[in-house]
Symmetry: C2
Subunit: 331 residues, 2 copies
């Protein structure tokens, strides 16, 4: 770990996983290759667009915690990143998203059709990389995650704009669409590192809770986070009709008139910045953002608690700090 | 085999695989289940829409040829059918198809978004069923097929409406998008049945050649087949701008004026039945449909030749007849 103490936990994680991630990144680029030009063009456009690669870092970090590695963590890390990118390609089509990571979404450059098919290609390549490890148990973890993620996306789609969506429905959506891949990324890392059953379980819980906290924070940030500060992407979820916790809590606690204001903006792609500001004001009046972030903090604590079962190490401490940092970005 | 001699080879294959396919069909229905209602609704709508289930029948038939089965053929057969159906769901979105198997495509009922996501779900479930067998080698065959299929679809998309598409490009497209899954279906069946290396190889070639013949026939039928008889779906490929062999051969052999007629109709969703008839007339003038079907017959012979390496049996003879029948439907 070469970084100074002032580096953020994510920056320190980047340093701590640097050697493994160099191999992961090399594998990612080589497996995005194809004689069909559009495939690597589109795949690399997304892959190289500056995502943090948090999931594959978690996989190699989890493996390094146990250290009796079988060398397959690199393959699983690359596979996890491909699964994540395949999901992003399909999600952007499903959500009609124009932007991704600050630049036009791949579908805006190559079209929806290519985005669907290259997503399928990345998923197939992910499974090939897993197969190469010969580790059928880890393959089971990731294939189950793949099915659950898709199921969660369908559930979210079915609930789009549904004012009766409950906090439990929302918990189910974010577990399936986000937390399960974090869980799988950490668990297969632990497995590749030679963890015993307790170690796998602990890392699985760590990933699941971290992923849940992460998504809750994202969903609060979409309305400006704790401070309710409005930025250029504020209210995207509102315009798409996504039933996230801030909106569910605001609907549950708002007056009839406030519910009507939210309902009018929800799923309205043309909702103005003023409409969004009105909804955020309602959320603040009822503490909806605050309570969303309290839930995120509870899950963050659960993630940190899961680490206690493991022997103390610099990496264990760092994984604890990563959780803290993931939540702090909302404040 | 309970059917009379007058039954078609496909009907006889249905009878011969009846016991295994009952298990396959049960598995297919149970794995299309989900607590997210839209998932089984959409999946069953497609799955139960009267597809022949030729691919999974080939898997269990291939396994039965060798007979020292490890019982995993049923899982692989169901997985192959899920992969196929996932592809159909995505293809119908990519091709803007309104109809599938004589009824409105799933996307016309549940929308493009749900079709994309349920396709992803079926793919995840397919991999879970494969993982349950513990057979990593067969998983490798099917995950490679999955990536190649997606790659082939991107290649086809990139070539849409491209008048310079060659017969070699076309051969690559149909290998990837159709023949590779037939190859994998037969190969993993042989593997599940306990085939030796020569047996696996033979069944792989059989599947690849059968799949190629099958697609060539489909592509000729899209222009009315040998007789050029025009039906209600005649010319769908033309309107979608698909560069199939009949159109490639017609362009290569047509006069400047004829090329212009084809170019005007190609990719024109509004092309009339008369426009299609004009193109079919050009194809017939240059023997394009006839030559497409000659190629299909050559691949059909190669499929039958591959079977010669195997011990003679009733099932081996039936698989030979299936090839013949698949080609005959164009005449």
């Amino acid at each position: 770990m070469r970084e100074a103490q002032s580096a953020t936990p994510i920056e320190r994680l980047v340093s701590a996983t640097e050697a493994d991630m160099a191999k992961v990144n090399e594998l990612i680029l080589s497996r995005a290759e194809s004689h069909v030009e559009m495939v690597p063009e589109l795949a690399r456009y997304l892959i190289e667009s500056g995502g943090k690669r948090l999931r594959p870092m978690l996989t190699v970090a989890a493996a390094s915690l146990f250290g009796r590695g079988n060398g397959s963590a690199v393959n699983f890390a690359a596979a996890v990143e491909f699964m994540h990118n395949a999901t992003l390609l399909h999600d952007d089509v499903v959500d009609d998203s124009d932007m991704r990571r600050g630049k036009p979404a791949a579908r805006m450059v190559w079209g929806n059709k290519a985005s669907i098919l290259v997503g399928d290609f990345l998923l197939g390549q992910a499974f090939m990389m897993m197969v190469e490890t010969g580790d059928i148990a880890s393959l089971g973890v990731l294939s189950a995650a793949s099915a659950v993620m898709a199921e969660g996306e369908v559930f979210q789609l079915a609930k789009t704009g549904d004012l009766d969506t409950t906090a439990d429905d929302y918990a189910e959506v974010i577990r399936a669409k986000t937390a399960v891949l974090f869980e799988a990324a950490c668990k297969v890392g632990a497995m590749a590192g030679g963890a015993d059953a307790a170690g796998r379980e602990a890392l699985g819980i760590y990933g699941l809770e971290l992923g849940t906290a992460f998504q809750l924070v994202d969903d609060a940030l979409d309305y400006g986070g704790q401070s309710g500060t409005l930025g250029k992407n504020t209210g995207d979820d509102l315009r798409e009709g996504k039933m996230t916790l801030p909106v569910i809590l605001a609907l549950a606690n708002g007056t009839e008139a406030e519910r009507a204001v939210i309902a009018a903006a929800l799923g309205n792609a043309e909702a103005s910045a003023e409409d969004v500001a009105d909804v955020v004001a309602i959320m603040e009046r009822h503490g909806a953002l605050e309570r969303t972030l309290e839930q995120a903090q509870a899950h963050a604590r659960a993630a940190q608690d899961a680490l206690v079962a493991l022997p103390a190490s610099e990496m264990r401490a760092l994984l604890g700090d990563v959780v803290e940092f993931s939540v702090m970005r909302a404040f």
